[in-house]
C-alpha cells in the first residue's frame, strides 16, 4: 500500500485533509496511512460533528472537521418572522442551557429598541442565567468524565440537573426549552417560596458536588488521561477566537460579565477562575470552579432582588398584561399591533454579546424599521471553539481526540445554527 495522494481521491474535504500541514514525524512509522471517519453518529462527538482523521497507526497527523449536519437555517428564518416569534428558536441554539440564550436575545433586541427591562426582571434574568450555567457545566463535566470512562459522575450530575429543571418548570412553565424572557422583561414572576426552595437546593448542592469532585480530582486515571492533552497557548487561544471557559484555562482573564457588564453583574461579587496550563484538565477545573461561583451569585441575587414589575410599561414596544387586554381598549389595540406587525424598532444595527456557559454568544441584528429583522447573525461560541480542533489534536492518539472534544464542550445546535 502506498501513501494516498491528492490525485487519487476526489471530494474536496478529503483533499483538504490530505493537503493539511503535516509537521509530525514519527520514528519507526508504518508505511500505511489511514483515513478514518469519526462520523456524525458517534457516542462521543457531542452531537453531529464529523471528524475526518488522517492516522498513522494510532497517532493523528491531521484532522478536518465537517459541520452542517444540523444546519436548520435560523438566519433565513429570522428574516421572515417578528422579534417575538424568534424567542422559542433561541432556546434551541445552545440546547443545554436554554434560558441563557433567551436572556442574550432579549438583551440584544432591547438594545436595538432602546428600552430597558425593570430591575426585578433583570435580577430574575440573572438568576436564570446562573441556573442555566450550572445545568450546562454539570452536563459538560459529566460528559467529559463519561468520555474518559467515569460513568457515575454523569448520572450524579443529571440527578442534580433534574432538580434545577424542576425550578424551571415552576418559574417558566417548561422544564427544558423555556422561552421565558420577553422583550421588555420576563413572562411571569418568581414567588418567594420558589426562592426559598432555590436556596435550599443550593445549600445541599455544594456537598453533592464535593462528592462528585472527590471521585474525579484524585483519580489517577482521570488525571493521566487529561493532563497535558490538547494544550493551547495563550496567543493561539486569542488568535483562534476561543471564548468562555476554554480561554480562561489558557491564562487569559476574559469574561464578558466583567469586560462589558450587562444586567447587574457589576454589583455582584464573584471571582473569575483562570488557569494557565491550557490543557484538558485546566478546562475541567475552570468549569468546576465556575459552578461554585454561580452558586455564590445565585445567593446574592436572591438576597438583593427588589420588588416591582416584571414587564416594562411601554405600550408600543412591549406586550401589555393579559388582564388589561381583556378589559381595556387601548391595550387590546397595542396587543393586536405588536403581535401582528411586530415591534418596529428604529433603523440601525446592534451587536450584543453575552457570557454564555460555552463562551460568547452574540446577536447582530440589522433592522430597517420593519417588524422583522433585515438580517440576524448569531455569533455562536461553539463554532469558534471547534475551529481549534485541527490544531489541538495533531500528534495525539485517537482516544485523546475524544477527551479533547469533550473538554472543548461544543454543542452542534449553535455551531450549525
Amino acid at each position: 500500500m502506498q501513501k494516498l495522494t491528492k490525485d487519487d481521491v476526489h471530494p474536496k474535504i478529503v483533499q483538504a485533509l490530505l493537503g493539511a500541514d503535516v509537521h509530525i514525524t514519527i520514528d519507526d512509522a508504518l508505511e500505511n496511512e489511514m483515513i478514518l471517519n469519526m462520523g456524525p453518529q458517534h457516542p462521543a462527538t457531542h452531537g453531529v460533528l464529523r471528524l475526518l482523521l488522517r492516522l498513522d497507526g494510532e497517532t493523528v497527523i491531521a484532522c478536518v472537521p465537517e459541520l452542517g449536519y444540523l444546519h436548520r437555517g435560523y438566519e433565513k428564518m429570522a428574516e421572515n418572522m417578528s422579534y417575538m416569534e424568534f424567542i422559542p428558536h433561541t432556546d434551541r441554539l445552545d440546547y443545554i442551557s436554554p434560558p441563557a440564550n433567551n436572556v442574550a436575545y432579549a438583551l440584544a433586541v432591547e438594545k436595538l429598541a432602546g428600552i430597558t427591562a425593570p430591575p426585578r426582571a433583570q435580577y430574575i434574568r440573572m438568576l436564570l442565567a446562573e441556573l442555566a450555567r450550572m445545568c450546562s457545566h454539570l452536563v459538560a463535566i459529566g460528559a467529559l468524565a463519561m468520555d474518559v470512562g467515569a460513568l457515575t459522575v454523569f448520572l450524579w450530575g443529571l440527578r442534580e440537573r433534574e432538580k434545577i429543571m424542576d425550578f424551571f418548570d415552576v418559574i417558566c412553565g417548561a422544564r427544558f426549552t423555556t422561552s421565558y424572557t420577553r422583550i421588555g422583561g420576563v413572562a411571569s414572576d418568581v414567588t418567594s417560596d420558589t426562592m426559598k426552595n432555590i436556596i435550599a437546593f443550593v445549600d445541599q448542592f455544594e456537598e453533592k458536588f464535593d462528592e462528585m469532585e472527590r471521585l474525579l480530582n484524585g483519580n489517577r486515571i482521570f488525571i493521566e488521561r487529561l493532563e497535558g492533552v490538547g494544550v493551547i497557548s495563550k496567543e493561539d487561544a486569542i488568535d483562534l477566537g476561543f471564548t468562555g471557559p476554554n480561554i480562561r484555562a489558557s491564562g487569559v482573564e476574559f469574561d464578558l460579565r466583567r469586560a462589558t457588564p450587562y444586567l447587574f453583574y457589576n454589583e455582584m461579587d464573584f471571582k473569575i477562575p483562570v488557569y494557565t496550563e491550557g490543557d484538558c484538565l485546566a478546562r475541567y477545573f475552570v468549569r468546576s470552579d465556575e459552578l461554585r461561583e454561580s452558586v455564590k451569585i445565585i445567593r446574592q441575587v436572591i438576597d438583593k432582588i427588589p420588588n416591582g414589575e416584571v414587564m416594562l410599561n411601554s405600550p408600543k414596544k412591549v406586550l401589555p398584561r393579559k388582564t388589561e387586554i381583556y378589559t381595556k381598549m387601548e391595550e387590546l389595540i397595542h396587543d393586536f399591533m405588536i403581535v401582528n406587525f411586530g415591534i418596529n424598532p428604529p433603523v440601525g444595527e446592534v451587536y450584543h454579546a453575552v457570557e454564555n456557559p460555552k463562551g460568547e454568544l452574540g446577536f447582530y441584528i440589522v433592522s430597517k424599521g420593519e417588524g422583522h429583522p433585515w438580517k440576524m447573525k448569531i455569533r455562536s461560541p461553539s463554532f469558534a471553539n471547534l475551529q481549534a480542533i485541527p490544531h489541538l489534536v495533531k500528534g495525539h492518539m485517537i482516544s485523546d481526540v475524544v477527551a479533547i472534544v469533550g473538554s472543548i464542550d461544543p454543542i452542534m445546535g449553535e455551531a450549525d445554527k
Binding site: N80, G241, Y364
Partner: protein, 160 residues
C-alpha cells in the same frame, strides 16, 4: 478610546477615506475594500489599539443597492475592552475580497461561512470550501432571492 482611534487612523492613513458612525454606544468604521488588509494589520499591531480578537465576520445583503453586499467584521481589543465594527462594501459583479485569515486565524471558518451563505469569494484563503451546505450544492442560501423553503430537489433524499 474613540478619539484615539480616529486620530491614529487619520494620522497613519491620510489617503483613505474613513467614515465613523456611532449608534447605541457602538462605533462603526467604514472604508473602501482595497485598503482592508493594511488597515486591519494596523488595527491589530498598533500600540494603544491592539485589536487582537476577531469575534465574527458576516455579510448583509441589501438586494437593491448598487453595492449589494456589506461585509461586517466585529473585532475586539482585550486590553482596552473595546469593540469595533469594520465594514466594507462589496459589489455583486466583483464578489471577492482579500482574506484576513492571515491576520486573525479565527477568521478562517467565519469567511468560509460567508462564502457558503452569500457567495463572496475570499482571495488567498487557505481552504475555501462550503461550511454548512453539501459540496455539490449550487446556490447560496442567505441571498435574498433564495426562497425560505428551498428549491425542491436541490439536495436529494434517500429512498424509503
Amino acid at each position: 478610546m474613540k478619539e484615539l482611534l480616529k486620530e491614529k487612523l487619520s494620522g497613519h492613513f491620510p489617503n483613505i477615506q474613513f467614515e465613523f458612525i456611532e449608534q447605541f454606544d457602538e462605533l462603526t468604521l467604514k472604508f473602501d475594500k482595497s485598503a482592508l488588509i493594511t488597515v486591519c494589520e494596523f488595527l491589530k499591531e498598533e500600540d494603544g489599539l491592539k485589536f487582537n480578537f476577531c469575534e465574527d465576520i458576516t455579510a448583509i445583503d441589501w438586494a437593491t443597492r448598487i453595492n449589494r453586499f456589506t461585509l461586517v467584521y466585529h473585532i475586539f481589543s482585550l486590553e482596552n475592552k473595546f469593540r469595533l465594527c469594520v465594514k466594507v462594501e462589496v459589489d455583486e459583479t466583483e464578489c471577492s475580497v482579500e482574506t484576513v485569515s492571515s491576520i486573525w486565524k479565527a477568521a478562517n471558518w467565519a469567511e468560509r461561512e460567508v462564502f457558503d451563505m452569500y457567495g463572496i469569494t475570499f482571495v488567498n484563503h487557505p481552504d475555501l470550501r462550503r461550511m454548512y451546505m453539501p459540496e455539490e450544492f449550487e446556490h447560496h442560501p442567505l441571498r435574498k432571492e433564495y426562497p425560505l423553503m428551498g428549491i425542491p430537489g436541490a439536495v436529494p433524499l434517500p429512498k424509503k
